[in-house]
Subunit: 310 residues, 3 copies
Amino acid sequence: MKHLLSIADLSRDEIGEIMDTAISMHDVQRRQVKKLPTLRGRTIINFFFEDSTRTRSSFEIAGKWMSADTINLTGKGTSVSKGESLRDTVKTVDAMGVDMMIVRHMASGAPAQIAQWTNCSIVNAGDGMHEHPSQALLDAYTLRSKLGDLDGKHIAIVGDLTHSRVLRSNLLCLRALGANVTLVAPPTLMPSGIGSWAATDSFEVSYDLDAVLPHVDAVMMLRVQRERMSGGYFPTAREYAVRYGLTARRLALMPRHAVITHPGPMNRGLEISADAADDAQSLVLDQVSAGVAVRMSILFHLLSGEGSSA
Amino acid sequence: MKHLLSIADLSRDEIGEIMDTAISMHDVQRRQVKKLPTLRGRTIINFFFEDSTRTRSSFEIAGKWMSADTINLTGKGTSVSKGESLRDTVKTVDAMGVDMMIVRHMASGAPAQIAQWTNCSIVNAGDGMHEHPSQALLDAYTLRSKLGDLDGKHIAIVGDLTHSRVLRSNLLCLRALGANVTLVAPPTLMPSGIGSWAATDSFEVSYDLDAVLPHVDAVMMLRVQRERMSGGYFPTAREYAVRYGLTARRLALMPRHAVITHPGPMNRGLEISADAADDAQSLVLDQVSAGVAVRMSILFHLLSGEGSSA
Amino acid sequence: MKHLLSIADLSRDEIGEIMDTAISMHDVQRRQVKKLPTLRGRTIINFFFEDSTRTRSSFEIAGKWMSADTINLTGKGTSVSKGESLRDTVKTVDAMGVDMMIVRHMASGAPAQIAQWTNCSIVNAGDGMHEHPSQALLDAYTLRSKLGDLDGKHIAIVGDLTHSRVLRSNLLCLRALGANVTLVAPPTLMPSGIGSWAATDSFEVSYDLDAVLPHVDAVMMLRVQRERMSGGYFPTAREYAVRYGLTARRLALMPRHAVITHPGPMNRGLEISADAADDAQSLVLDQVSAGVAVRMSILFHLLSGEGSSA
């Protein structure tokens, strides 16, 4: 494993290994002195062409706790804004002798393209509407730690599925782990051609959240991008909340043991009510905590293996 | 001591302890190799919702010299700009496992509110027009190192008092240390209700800087926010400088031993003339130097005590 | 050596020493664990008043690999934007106890002025149209490692010479090392008064790139600033490329052993074609790689000598 570009590149065993290592990393995170010498003298660039608090900070903390040197670069203020090609920019950063670039980019496929241009390890930290693999791994880790083995568990993924990189990575990851997935969205936010997906990938599709909730072990609420509001995807925010929001009423439809996740940032009152966000079964903050541990595990597997580049 | 939110939370002894520890930290600062292992493996977030050079850098240097991992977050480019609530944002950062957030926020009371939402230590690095406690502690440290014990010393605080968080923290700190404080400002920039303050807190109020200066041990000039210019608080910058600026003529009114402070950034020619700013009795750069030492002391007291959170 | 402000301040021997130390640093850069303890406990401020990816990152990586504490400050969001004078801003940062400021500033001479205001070491990382000495040192290092001793070598510097700080530093550096330099540019982009320069500094001037190329050991292509386009310096981008761009046709005019450099970011298709940029004789990425090693050497010579300030 040199890169983490897509969940599709990982076998079920590799996903399991990343989650298993994350358990030890989570122990480090609970210590007063959070520091491992593992990546001392290794250099990690956080290369974020889109804004991000949680993903960037989470990777930066993971790197620092493992003693790596971490450097932040953004699209703004870089040579990209002076008309340099992306290829020249990344080859330049690569030539400095860095070991890893953690890349967020608005274009689907940019991290995979960058991996072909450079010698260092590339982690996809979110590319357009394509994938966000570290999010899927931390979600699976969080769910497994509460529900046990995900094989055969019923998980609903609900919300703006058309535009979601989190959906794609989670669907691949949960399916690889044997979970039964049901996608729930308004017809306007269900990916087109989903009929043919369903045939090959064996997941269910529903437009009726109330009907799905009584049978879930977990419900994964996805963020509605505010900019969708004016896109004609649904009439009003209130209408969306009524039809697809996880409200207090819907909470009561779920089995007692079922848990709630959300990748954040949450639109309270839109896709998730305050009751649901703050419910005892909500794992929202567990996900954030697991995020650092899982990312430490990712850095470990990509950079400290025998086959890693120098 | 888990948080530093307001000087009002500190006893005279606690203020003294922070200043005493800062003396040792100041020695470290004068070494060629400025590094203590004290906070290795602890993580400090500089969470600045308002711009700042000196306060943010000063805390960042203090943290790095004590071997902490330091991470900068700003309001821009965070999830706050995506509509996430402040509560969700800080709970997210907290869940990553950080030990301290150093918070600057435009809203008075924001750091105290954040302290109730999180498990980590919170330092108020300036909140609205409320407080800026580390500034008051470094000011007191700087004054004490030049004037000795501040008990019974006469200190004038001059300038835009209505809008100043530096005033509030300094007034509390100097009073706790037994100094006699006189507030000097144009009537439009004197906090309303100051009459009742004076009755209970035993400080003096004056509108005549010339009358006050001959009796001071120290004069603390506060910055006039440029945006006040258009607010009708005083006729013109020149008028303000003539009436309340520390000019060469006024320097001569002060006792020889009396010293000058300013928290910076200075408006030279407005509240302080170049003669005064660069006078041998000006402690402006001593304040900056002390700032790092006092902040190292604050980090030490909040994070390395027995009762600190992990 | 306390500061690096201009190549003019360095003797030929000092330039040689910096390049020689860079060879060892380059070895460190090729290791898996890139870390020297040399500058532990020393604090370096990257003070960039203009945007930069490669220079800032390169210095930041160099500092981190030598175990220094590195802190980034920009012009935006600093007290300069609140009306503070540059002098007060830099004296403030200096008073915190930093060891070095690496300064990029839009005003020619700003770093030299700052050196007079502070106690710490100042590195000029590009000032207006004046100098960019670390770029010239890394260019010389890169050329020497391919061509051997530069004494007597023929080097053409081509492009927007009027506005180029890279030109000035390179001309001084290459002349100090004994190279024969030919400047090539359209008349509108040739520095005025170049006639008198030529008399004293013994370099050649040409307006005909085709005539120069057959005799070079190296051709140094400089970036055309996009903002020149509308300045009337040349009719169109296409016209510039045809007359002064390093095209596939011109590549064939160069001797086989001759090499190509460009400080980046490149305008592919303008001053340099894709063929030339990606040619086997192009040293563009070697320059970037050498940049970190040469900057480590600069930090070493300025900060770890006996005479360095604490």
